[in-house]
């Protein structure tokens, strides 16, 4: 059934491609065929992605910075790290500044929203996206593209938060699904930095650990992780 969902997404991609009339900014995303549920993870390319935003109101808030790192051959490739600030049309919400330690100076030196979107699309095209609480990144990405939250982008998001919850249910553990708490309970080193890049790397490490829990000794493939991410 879940394989169906991935197949459906791929079908939609092909349909939209054949219809033409595709927003030029979206085209890179449509160029790559989506993998099936049985595709081995070792053959896939991933990007762990994190956004820092002014808040969680999709209508009124915006993305301040984004960071990410690639996972290829199931190894986090540090050389592929990226991190950028985005220029803001309005002054930013002072509360979020406190949390993220992002100053107006950082932002004014950042990318224009268009350039940021272009770069993001480039980084995501042909890759599986890994986020902790993927709804934020997915929804804000759609917002940046001027699309509605229910738009079916040809992008597969895996969500370490949901995967962790699915594992915890099995273990009947206490649910603290914040990234830092998960890392602590897994014995991963605490991350000092609180920024989009550090969080994306932290998420990527958690993801590698989760693969071991989900698949044990069997060869890991996409389907089960996708299912747990819904």
């Amino acid at each position: 059934m879940l394989g169906d969902k991935l197949a459906k997404l791929e079908k939609k991609r092909i349909q939209r491609l054949s219809h033409g009339q595709l927003d030029i900014r979206l085209q890179p995303l449509y160029r790559h065929a989506l993998p099936s549920a049985r595709t081995l993870l070792s053959e896939l390319k991933f990007t762990a992605l994190d956004f820092e935003t002014t808040g969680l109101n999709f209508a009124s808030d915006s993305v301040l910075s984004f960071g990410g790192v690639e996972i290829n051959g199931l190894q986090i490739d540090f050389a592929s790290c990226f991190h950028h600030f985005i220029q803001q049309p309005n002054t930013i919400n002072p509360d979020s500044v406190v949390i993220n330690a992002i100053t107006p100076e950082h932002l004014s030196a950042g990318l224009t929203p268009d350039a940021a979107l272009h770069l993001l699309i480039e980084r995501c095209a042909g890759r599986i996206i890994i986020c902790h609480g993927a709804v934020i990144e997915r929804t804000f990405l759609l917002k940046m593209l001027g699309l509605t939250p229910d738009f079916a982008l040809p992008l597969i998001f895996l969500d370490t938060l949901k995967i962790e919850r699915s594992l915890l249910r099995r273990r009947r553990g206490v649910e603290d699904l914040r990234l830092a708490a998960i890392r602590e309970s897994r014995g991963l080193p605490a991350y000092v930095g609180h920024n989009a890049l550090a969080d994306s790397v932290a998420t990527a490490e958690v993801f590698l650990a989760q693969i071991k829990d989900v698949f044990g000794k069997t060869a890991p493939c996409l389907g089960p992780l996708f299912a747990r991410s819904q």
Binding site: L74, F78, C81, H83, E205, I211, K212, D213
Partner: protein, 619 residues
Amino acid sequence: MDSSLLPNIYDFIAHTYPFSMLSTLEQDTLAASVKIAYYAKDDVLRDENLSGVGLFMIRTGCAEQINNDGTLRARLSVGDSFGYTQLNKHGRSDYKVVFLENSLLYIISRQILAFIKGRNEHVGRYFDDHEYVRLTSTRRYLTDSDDYLSGRLKQPAGAVCQKRIVCIPPDCSVQECARRLLFTGCEMAMVTASDNGELLGLVTKSDLTLRAVACGLPYTTPVSAVMTPHPVVIEDSKPLYQVLDSMLTHQVQHLPVMHAHTVVGTINTRDLLQNSLLQPLYLIKSIHRQLSVNDLTALASQKQEIFVTLMELKVEPSTIQRIFSRIADAFVSKICALTQESLGKPPCAFAFFAAGSLAREEVQFLSDQDNGLVFERPLNDSELQYFRRFTHEVCTALDACGYTWCSGNYMACNEQWCQSSRSWEQYYDSWILEPDAQALLDSSVFFDLRCEYGDAFLVTKLQQKIIANAADNSRFLAMLCRNAVTVNPPLGLFRQFVLTRDGENKPVLNIKHQGINLIVELARLYALHSRCLAVSTHERLLQGLADEDAARELNEALTFLNEVRFAHQYKALLQGDSLSNLMPPDELSQFERNHLKDAFRIIARQQNAAQLRFGKGIA
């Protein structure tokens, strides 16, 4: 990438040796190229996933390296790394890595490692393919130390003295004199004749305080009223050793240094301390001057200061051992001489000889006494009484001087080890010609001999006996070899434990029994086999081992083990703790742990080689 965004990885790299030796820029380059992998408990890494990949650093978790024959190679935890010996391999690896816990690894690729190795010599040596080169990278002290030592002692005063001097005429006021000292930072002023520059006297800071200020003299008083006239001086060509001699004889702390009749500088005790190793020499000189055993025991406490100084001067361990052996020689021969003086003429020629570490010139701060006495001919009971008393008094005095009673009772005061030349020869015959493992173990200390006092020929005869017989007796060599390989070095240190080859964890490392002694025994074996006359372990390895690489790597291992041992004893001394050869692993740095592993691996490999070479002699 801005390193502040990801402090974790940058921090870890910056604090892990040898990458801690890199510049910030190089560290950043390295960190930016790291790949991160995660392995679960029981996962295995081997062959193409390990060979030629790069350096794997454990960030969290732990793992075991298992050799292809199934034996444990090492157990690794946070901060440890593996994979660099497999860098140039393809396909099958020499070992596999089995993860004992879920582990996060940082991987530095072969290419990046090669790049950094080329840029930084510390990293280059650390990741050399050979353990002994990696051990060389630990060198912190000056090399060629005997030359260094004697060079220092022979350095002329003129080369060490401070060239900045204040010269004032005798009618200069004390205030002006004080002002000149203030501005130049000198400790004293030279009062020189205005016409020919002849040195008339000295004015030190304390002269100004005690002779001028304390006596209420006016500031306008000429310095000639407070100076020390006709000061003791030293020629600039005189060696440092005479500077100290002169200072001690005349009870002064500063000396003007002269060239012809002109002052060219000043030298003080501080310059001597910073620039020389005079302490041991002075101790030895004063040992020879003492008139009683009581006076000698008072000198023994100086050994500690000397040890501290030598460590602070970063003198090589083998030199420290030689200096301590010279000091011990001085004590032994002086004690023997004093004892003979008080007991009168001996009934026949004899020799008091050192065995064990003193014979090998490898005495260290903790060494106890191992010795024996050989007399020329069989003696009757009353004649024997002389040597019984002699050895008892000598060994007691040695104990009082800090060379404590030997726990194995290998001392001349034990009747068994105070024998005629003929009896000693019989001992060696039975040890060598009819070897018995236990008897050999008990007597190994007597295969290192050096005459300390008396008729050296008696000791030479015994050494010749050993050399003549041991080399051809394969059964003897096989037994000696078996004894030398009974104790295995640990595999390494794992968290707070010492990991032994059978996988057992021990709480402390005995660096002497589990390391140093094993090399000493191998060296003795090879020396006996090749009829080599050298006594020191370093020399024995170089002369006795045909395989130069083996000799070299064992020497490096020995030096490193001694370095670790002395560093810990030094620390204990400064903290007022008691000294020992026992080391709880948590007192060892990551740096020491990594290199100890290399040293242990060298020993294990050479034990195997010795076993192949000599083991077959046992029927």
